[in-house]
Symmetry: C2
Subunit: 341 residues, 2 copies
Amino acid sequence: MSHQLEKKSSYNVAIAGVTGAVGEIFLEILAERKFPINQLKLLASPRSAGKKISYDGKEYTVEALSKDSFNDVDIALFSAGGSTSKEFAPIAAKAGAVVIDNSSAFRMDDDVPLVVPEVNPAAAFRHKGIIANPNCTTIIMVVALKPLHEISPIKKVWVSSYQSASGAGAKGMYELQTQTRQLVNDEPLTIEAFSHQLLHNVIPHIDTPQDNGYTREEMKMFYETCKIMGDPSIKVSSTCVRVPVISAHSEAITIESENPITVEQAREALDKAPGIRVVDDLPNNIYPMPLDVAGKDDCEVGRIRKDLASENGLTFWVVGDQLRKGAALNAVQIAELLISK
Amino acid sequence: MSHQLEKKSSYNVAIAGVTGAVGEIFLEILAERKFPINQLKLLASPRSAGKKISYDGKEYTVEALSKDSFNDVDIALFSAGGSTSKEFAPIAAKAGAVVIDNSSAFRMDDDVPLVVPEVNPAAAFRHKGIIANPNCTTIIMVVALKPLHEISPIKKVWVSSYQSASGAGAKGMYELQTQTRQLVNDEPLTIEAFSHQLLHNVIPHIDTPQDNGYTREEMKMFYETCKIMGDPSIKVSSTCVRVPVISAHSEAITIESENPITVEQAREALDKAPGIRVVDDLPNNIYPMPLDVAGKDDCEVGRIRKDLASENGLTFWVVGDQLRKGAALNAVQIAELLISK
């Protein structure tokens, strides 16, 4: 198939949206993991073209994304928003690149795999030029669900999220930092990135409202979980809330499984699972927190306990860096997977 | 019974712990609601004795709490911590006062009513000198549960909280404000009131760990809900999380009831319920948020929608000022109830 990556010693990689919050982390992670890059092409909107960015000791000039950007590109990492992906990902795929797209544009398309390498690695190879990177909050949840699902199938999930400002991109992170400074300096607070003041507040609204009273973010957690886990029978009900945290998303999760999963079984399975670290010692004030997890690759799981309301229920707390595992790292791991065969 | 309040035109009221976060609000609320006070006695630890506090245009001197503090007191409002309540509430009751105690010291005692006036007003009259004011997070939840429970009995509750700094008292609120200033001024952050930095973080740990992996705060939400609702069959599973908000607690709640409750039924019942305001217009960015609810008496409910995981499930979002309805206001409402008969 034309779209399977040819085995090479190094690859031509393009990053579309390199000046955004996730774009920057793409570069960090590619360098950290010594991804075998032959040529690197940094792409962004015309507004950012000409900007200099250094990678691995060399300076690169950001180019304006155009329909000619993808000639000779093997792997195109997209994180430039849904409309940009919709326009340029098919062009990149047609030009022969494998696109790994961080937007929600193609996630639910039948012929686009939605991949979390720890959960459904095989799906990555069934692409037709575009592979979708799931929603950040969903990725962080499913890495923890997967090892439990293997003990006993998960039937129901209730999740409340505590999502950080940088989930709304660099502008969200910047707005929280700006509001913090403004409050202390007694200045009026800038409110642009979020619909309300985020500092010293929480906002139970992420992404656009849907007809059923849920937000799009909340519905993504339902549909994407089913697709990634390959089980359309899982029901996910969520409340997605923005909290005044710079980076890393937290989630309070309850699962109900077909058969009971004990705390010991869960801890053992999570301990062995890739991409997860169990951080669970409440009496010593040890549990995952966004301040600790920001900048880390692994998602951390703690507060693991039997659910008190559901018969076969288990309750726990997961925190993951949504710019890394929730976005850039997951995409790079998909690329690593593709070049590993 | 000696402990039922005699009908008078005004009452001698003592406040124990008047210099704390809740103590201050006690005074605000008594004044706002023109509680009929004959003599007012302001009590605190010896450390705070001598402090001047004005109430309704008059200046009062804080006295050190002692075993002689309660002679001639009709109503004693306590918010001075569990150990002070344990020592002095029985003394006050013996001296003839009716104690309304905001600590957790007596809440689960069989002969101490645990009262939320909107939920179980009759229980208030079954006291033997001490009435307990429930945990703040529990009060805010049960005012919303009660009207739904009347449509169809609630069997299960899953709740994740977003609790503000002032839930840990004035020192918690002060620490978040201090950390905000310190971060902006590039100073080291003071971490004393909470086990970790709260600013730009969330901490999934409130109150002491229990053997079952839950915290005491989380277990209070279970046991106190059953006692207040008068239904020991309700099962409550919660995750209590501290968030960097100054005041007002938020809660993402899912209930499973015996029979389905529609969104329309729920909204209608909550709209009519005392102590609640429905604030629910997601497409117009309208929902309860702590910044808006702080300082208000009513709890606000929004994001009301059918739960997607549970058959007879309903999911919603409640925010309440935990110093007011979650503490001082609820206690004063209990006092009003007692003098109303």
